[in-house]
Symmetry: C2
Subunit: 324 residues, 2 copies
């Protein structure tokens, strides 16, 4: 089980490598939300999302021998870039297994960050079999995106920073809204806040039709989504909360908050107008919950984690056209 | 003459009110620029631009009697919002004279921040005469946008932060590129760096056809632009460097760097893609100089001040469509 001690240890290893992202605010957003609202801008993290923290925590926890052999990750998105950048800085070979129909820019970015990209065909290839074969023949260590203790510990450093930055603003009690896929970030933040700011209440936030965490929390057991494709919130689509993360979520979090895709796009535009940050749809879900679903929150301030900003220009322009 | 002591004093008064904005970087931008490149993200400052610093420095330096009567500012936008927000926080009435073709978001934001907005026509009205009449009849104190010692001192706090943040990155020598209108920010930053990081070389950056500072520096005397309308870089269009600012620029700065409007829009898109920040065209001019005019810079790192992010959604979407 990931512990507070593991998060503190990860924070020491991340020092000087991951950015301490700012906690932003705007009187315009306070008014729209009807409460004091702060946004933890993880889109400004290295590689454009919080995933760099987990990648760094995992890479820096490997043995020298493991680092020499290399690491493997499956991802077409933020985890790929986080692991690639962290591996490169550790002089560790990284193999990222990506679908061959992934956007060319994401493939070239991952390569530019120093990783070897292995493409597979979603329709005909078995990704897990290819990965297992690569891991076996080349001795690579698999870095899973959320159900991995060091990854949860790395993401938990977001919670340490929230506690300290909120205290500087005089805030010790707040709804802490976290965009939630498999629950690595949410679990890490909840563990960190349990020790450092026990007046905070963590609330996982998800897009409509992909609310596996909200349903799992309501029922007390792991529920699955029917599909993990078909939402613009691609960064946080996962089949279900993890075996490691769910018990932490169940013990520490309040109920889930579910938002629509339009809510997420509206929140992207508010972040553009009022905070001058770029969010991807999946990274704007927690802000959308704070702005448009305040009736589901406790009567105290809100802190929304804006998890990432890796969005195609065409989708961002569409959000501006529709809601700007 | 504004002094380093005035900047240090302003920094103390701004403490806890202005944000210490982050110094961002990306390996992709380093590669494009052909050198280490850092971006001081003043778009993340209160009110979306560095102007809040000068506004706060000026308001906090007034006598109680002056604060009770109120203040007046002329501005196409960012200085207006900076003064309006600072005045509001000081319980001081603020009247802002704005050109009627200023971006809609800047006019509506200035009103929402509590200021009274008076519009004028750039082509036909005498702004100074309107302002003088208002100041006289209502006893308002004029807060000029750049040729004002306390404003230069407030903007200079950007330079103090650059020196300290660059040192944390191991950088003591760099081209410091500053988007330059009347020279308040550029002069303040140059004064701050003269004392705190003398290995830095400040370079004012301007849009094509509005290169009054570059020409003034080249000729050694104040040159004027033929017009101050007709560029998307509205935030930094001024008739000429100021009486207070020009001698500082002439003593401390390297030659000016001039970029095209397309350069500025391309830099906005790079900031969107690689740093996840929102820049307005005038706020992207220094980044454009770093990315696309490196041949004019000294052979050392570059630090570009991204001065503001108050851009209409339609202009941002156009930049994404053309260069995204």
């Amino acid at each position: 089980m990931t512990s507070f001690a593991a998060i503190s240890a990860a924070a020491k290893r991340l020092q000087g490598h991951a950015s301490r992202t700012p906690l932003l605010s705007s009187p315009f957003l306070d008014e729209l939300a009807g409460r004091r609202l702060f946004v933890k801008a993880e889109c400004l993290q290295q590689t454009g999302s919080f995933k760099f923290r987990g990648g760094w925590a995992a890479l820096s926890a490997l043995t020298d021998e493991q680092r020499q052999r290399g690491v493997l990750a499956y991802s077409s998105g933020n985890h790929a870039q986080g692991v690639a950048a962290a591996a490169s800085a550790h002089n560790t070979p990284a193999v990222i297994l990506m679908p061959q129909d992934a956007p060319a820019i994401k493939i070239s970015n991952t390569r530019a960050l120093g990783a070897e990209v292995v493409l597979f065909d979603r329709a005909t290839d078995d990704r897990d079999a290819i990965g297992a074969e690569l891991a076996k023949t080349r001795g690579l260590t698999l870095i899973k995106p959320y159900d991995e203790e060091q990854v949860v510990a790395g993401q938990g450093t977001v919670g340490l920073e929230i506690a300290s930055q909120a205290a500087e603003e005089g805030i010790t009690k707040a709804n802490v809204l976290v965009c939630c896929g498999g629950g690595g970030l949410t679990a890490g933040v909840a563990l960190a806040l349990e020790q450092t700011a026990p007046g905070m209440q963590v609330r996982p936030c998800e897009p409509e039709s992909f609310d596996d965490v909200a349903r799992s929390l309501a029922s007390g057991r792991i529920c699955r989504n029917e599909t993990t494709a078909g939402s613009i919130c691609d960064a946080i689509l996962t089949p279900s909360p993890g075996e490691i993360t769910f018990p932490i979520l169940a013990r520490l979090c309040g109920s889930g908050v579910v938002v629509t895709e339009d809510d997420a796009m509206r929140a992207m535009v508010e972040a553009f107008l009022r905070l001058k940050i770029v969010l991807e749809p999946g990274g704007a879900v927690a802000l959308a919950a704070a702005l448009f679903h305040g009736d589901q929150l406790d009567d105290m301030a809100a802190i929304a984690v804006a998890t990432g900003g890796n969005v195609d220009a065409s989708i961002f322009a569409e959000a501006l056209r529709r809601f700007g």
